[in-house]
């Protein structure tokens, strides 16, 4: 009886161990080069869980742009403008545009705003242009309109600096020695 039980147990153990081998469909083949090749067949589901990281943009932009405009400037561009440097520190390209421009000409009696850069004798026009140095002419300027707009100014690839200048035109009858303000809001978005 004992011999029979131990024989059955032995058979059971052998059978159980062999099931593992049969369940694992991997077979080991000697490639002959000394490497052991592991082959897989049959497939097994493995769940991969990924998290899509948010796209972060990092930029340096101006929040205030001062400039002078004078009829006595000899070139077509009547503005004395600082360099407006913008920096894209992101890993994605960005575009910078004018979202809104607030204009206050209350100190310039009888003066109106020109949205196009072509000024009558009692008009002022101001725009921005991408340039390496302050431009003397008005070609390529993006003119500021009063109120809401969507005027693209400059595109920057990842880790790039860009430079812009204010340009402008002023009519001959616009009063001098007065201050006016045009406040554009520059907005950045992923390109």
């Amino acid at each position: 009886m004992k011999k029979a039980v131990s024989f059955i147990l032995t058979l059971a153990m052998v059978f159980a161990c062999s099931q593992t081998v049969f369940a694992d469909s991997r077979a080991y083949r000697d490639s002959g080069s000394g490497d052991i090749v592991i082959e897989t067949s049959g497939g097994k589901e493995i769940e991969l869980v990924g998290h899509v990281e948010p796209t972060i943009i990092s930029v340096v932009m101006p929040s205030y742009i001062p400039f002078d405009i004078s009829k006595s400037q000899p070139a077509d561009n009547k503005v004395v403008s600082p360099e407006i440097k913008v920096t894209n520190n992101s890993n994605v390209p960005v575009v910078i545009y004018v979202d809104n421009a607030r204009v206050d000409l209350s100190n310039l009696q009888g003066t109106s705003w020109s949205n196009s850069g072509v000024v009558a004798e009692n008009q002022v026009a101001v725009g921005l242009t991408e340039a390496a140095v302050q431009p003397e002419n008005l070609g390529g300027a993006k003119w500021l309109a009063q109120g809401q707009q969507n005027t693209e100014l400059i595109r920057l690839v990842s880790q790039q600096d860009g430079k812009m200048f204010i340009v402008g035109a002023i009519g001959s009858q616009v009063p001098e020695n007065q201050v006016f303000s045009v406040v554009p809001t520059l907005v950045v978005k992923q390109a």
């Binding site: 990092s58 101006p62 929040s63 205030y64 001062p66 907005v187």
Partner: protein
């Protein structure tokens, strides 16, 4: 007698020389001279503003550089429809030296959804809760970022970032 006469003549001549000298001195004082101009008290010392273009450019550049602001932001924050909380992830870097205030405005209708308090340099706003709830969906918005002087809290200027708000169950 003779020596007395000589003495009188000498004294007379000396007196005449002295008188002549005084007369010449007084005459010279009365005449107009190149070195006697009266200086203008109303004049200001220095270069007149508007004349030195290079100097003026430096002043304008200095003003603009003070208004530069750096920031980082999540371009597509995700909001929970129940809590209206989302990951805006707006950073005010340490080198800004300005306080930032963020305002999230819906492009359609220009409705203000959220306004932050002042964010100090070297800190960030990871999550916000919309003050005006949104239904599930995707919305285009602009985050207007106002910069304030850290000491005086005067408004320096404003810039913005375009974002896409998504409201959905996570």
């Amino acid at each position: 007698m003779k020596s007395r006469k000589k003495t009188v003549i000498l004294v007379f001549l000396a007196g005449a020389v002295v008188v002549l000298g005084i007369a010449c001195f007084l005459l010279l004082q009365m005449l107009p001279s190149r070195n006697s101009l009266e200086l203008e008290n109303n004049a200001t010392v220095g270069i007149m503003p508007g004349i030195d273009r290079e100097q003026r450019l430096k002043e304008l550049q200095n003003e603009l550089d003070k208004g530069l602001i750096a920031f980082s932001i999540n371009t597509s924050p995700l909001f929970d429809p129940k809590t209206q909380e989302g990951n805006l992830m707006l950073e005010n870097p340490k080198n800004n030296a300005k306080l930032l205030v963020a305002q999230v405005v819906l492009n359609e209708g220009q409705k203000t959804l959220y306004t932050s308090k002042a964010i100090q340099p070297g800190s960030y706003l990871e999550r916000i809760r919309l003050e005006q709830p949104l239904a599930e969906g995707v919305y285009e918005a602009t985050v207007y970022i106002q910069a304030y002087d850290e000491q005086t809290q005067d408004l320096i200027g404003q810039t913005g970032a375009a974002v896409t708000l998504t409201v959905q169950n996570q």
